[in-house]
Amino acid sequence: MSESQERIRLGHGGGGTMMQALIDQEFRGLYADPQLVLHDAATLGRPSGALAFTTDSYVVHPLEFPGGDIGQLAITGTANDLAMAGARPQQISVAWILEEGFELACLRRIVASMATAALACGVAIVTGDTKVVERGKADRLFLTTSGIGVIKSPSPIGPGAIQVGDQLLVSGDLGRHGLAILAARHGLSLEPPLATDCMPLWPQVEACLQAGVRFHCLRDLTRGGLASALQELASAAGMELHLEEERVPVAAAVATACDILGFEPLHLANEGRFLAVVPPEQRALAEELFTAHGGQWIGEVRAGSTRVVLRTRYGSERLLVPPTGELLPRIC
């Protein structure tokens, strides 16, 4: 550790001139209207239509990983949560919890990546907060973002709208983000290296809505992966979800690494993938729009117990259950 390196000090959270300088020099450029941050609250115009509102905290180790960092995740993840409500992401707030000693160089890289992500997601960062805690009281940087979006879906989107016969699609191949993080955390060097799949989901949702797709439900496939998302939906809807395993897209590199480490690819987190539930008559339309971006039809909703059943490529069936807790590599 170099002592000459510029680092966060406790004084940066003290509310005085050090904090003001930090905001001015490091954060102000992020804001849609830099003058606004001088005030306690952002003022927003009154939108037409219903709003979606969401919040999420980001704690990831390591902060920077192949293809992304915590800043990109914090903006994109919250924008994606809004998209899953059928809402166009509009405004985002950012709360920073910085650990004393955190290197400013790293903070600058993360701030730059937040600016890029906000542009990609089409959101304005409108307000923020900064706190500094003593060394050892946080893992370098924690971020909390909240977001507001305007609902664009003509019909309600949620587990309550799911019906027997509905069709299931995923927007792309699964497991890249989770594996990239696990590899970075455990020092596993994968060849070729895997990068996060983190990307904004609204453009694809919007394209579908504009083409006339009526979504019954949308879910981004973050922590717990497809397995957790499907089990939650099966339980909430009181129906059985039936998958064709061969149709579930998993990159060969992800599948191979999972084989070696003993992970289920469908337990791994994704940051740029979602599940869509559509009525049966819309399967063809949705499939056409999804496959153009590497997505895939994967199965359907059936009457029955609240289970997720997967038909293997050999015609046998098994359950798909959510992970238990922390994903731990197996012994051999």
Binding site: E317, R318, L319, V321, G325, P329, I331, C332
Partner: protein
């Protein structure tokens, strides 16, 4: 590939003229069979018994207790492989993850080499590596022992609980209640030890032993070969995993094992003491043994069969011996789940109970 598996499944049905019972020894094979639903493709008269080849499952509860005690000791960093962190000791519900949450220093490793690096980075701490696994992971532990000695690292020690697969197969066959008529032997273990120990088993017990891999087609080929040998009444060792296993195994790894370890009688959780079923560090490497360094007892050779962490609620010993399937346990899915495991086979993804929970129920 699907058509190959289907063809093998048809050939199996054609070959079978009477009921047979085959044990797949390795937990990785159990997992793969249930993961791909291959058991649904087998003739009803071919019964599979899940064997005890899950190192997490058979590590004695006394050893887990010692690991927990060391992890609670100030100045000690206890490190081990991922799925060992969730195994309860004799105190119900207490595992290494719980000790870590309460302030103990516990680290997950993916390679024993990381223990060496950790010991070098933290010279003020005592690094203890809980070394478990069959002959697959034992050579890496042996290499660690050799390096630690060569470097003269005084703050690294090993809490060893390595196990040997052939003595466990022997114990199953020697049991008067044994139902196993043929074995699928664990391909990865055989890639290290070769087939000589299996030849001895066949000579003594006259059962076919087929060295088998882990992919769906590998498992079907192994089963087909086992059934053919059973039907023909010609017990021998067959190698259905030639792309990975040579009859002599891996001579370098075997030499390393012989240099560092010596076979000893060892308690297996749920199974009791298995004669020559474990590996202990031999001189001069025995000074690395954590039990010696921290004044802990040697593995207790009187550990009772059955799961000592609980009462009659857990019958994992019966499961590990193939006498019952996991769903026949009264606690399965109720008192015992992966979130709250009573016995070790519910912990590891390779444990029979966890595999049933995950893919069947």
């Amino acid at each position: 590939m699907p058509s190959q598996v289907e063809a093998l499944s048809r050939r199996l049905a054609q070959q079978l003229s009477r009921p047979w019972t085959v044990m797949e020894v390795c937990g990785g094979q159990t997992h793969s069979l249930l993961r791909w639903g291959l058991d649904q493709l087998l003739p009803v008269d071919l019964r599979l018994i899940h064997g005890p080849g899950c190192p997490v499952c058979v590590t004695s509860a006394a050893t887990i207790d010692q690991a927990l005690a060391l992890a609670r000791t100030p100045g000690v960093i206890l490190c081990t492989y991922g799925d060992m962190l969730r195994v309860p000791g004799t105190e119900r519900g207490v595992d290494l993850l719980g000790v870590r949450a309460a302030g103990g220093e516990v680290q997950l490793l993916t390679s024993p080499r990381d223990a060496l690096l950790l010991a070098q980075e933290r010279p003020d701490q005592d690094v203890v590596f809980l070394a478990v696994g069959f002959e697959t992971t034992a050579p890496a532990t042996a290499l660690l022992a050799r390096q630690a000695r060569a470097l003269g690292l005084s703050n690294l020690s090993l809490l060893t609980a390595h196990v040997r697969v052939a003595p466990a197969m022997e114990a199953i066959l020697a049991d008067p209640a044994n139902q196993v008529q043929a074995f699928l032997a664990a391909g990865h273990v055989c890639s290290v030890i070769g087939t000589a120990e299996l030849e001895e088993l066949v000579a003594r017990f006259q059962v076919p032993v087929v060295v088998t891999g882990f992919e769906p087609a590998d498992l079907m080929v192994g089963l087909l070969e086992a059934v053919e040998l059973l039907e023909a009444g010609t017990p021998r060792v067959a190698n259905a995993y030639r792309r990975a296993v040579q009859p002599e195994g891996n001579p370098v790894a075997r030499a390393l094992l012989e240099e560092v370890f010596t076979p000893v009688d060892q308690p297996w959780r749920g199974l009791g003491v298995i004669r020559q079923g474990g590996l202990a560090l031999r001189p001069p490497y025995d000074t690395l043994e954590a039990r010696q360094r921290f004044g802990l007892a040697a593995p207790e050779l009187a550990e009772e069969p059955g799961c000592p962490s609980c009462d009659a609620a857990c019958i994992s010993g019966e499961v590990l011996q193939g006498r019952v399937t996991p769903d026949q346990c009264p606690s399965f899915g109720g008192a015992c789940t992966p979130e709250h495991p009573l016995g070790a086979p519910m912990v590891s993804s390779e444990g029979a109970c966890a595999a049933w929970w995950r893919y069947r129920r």
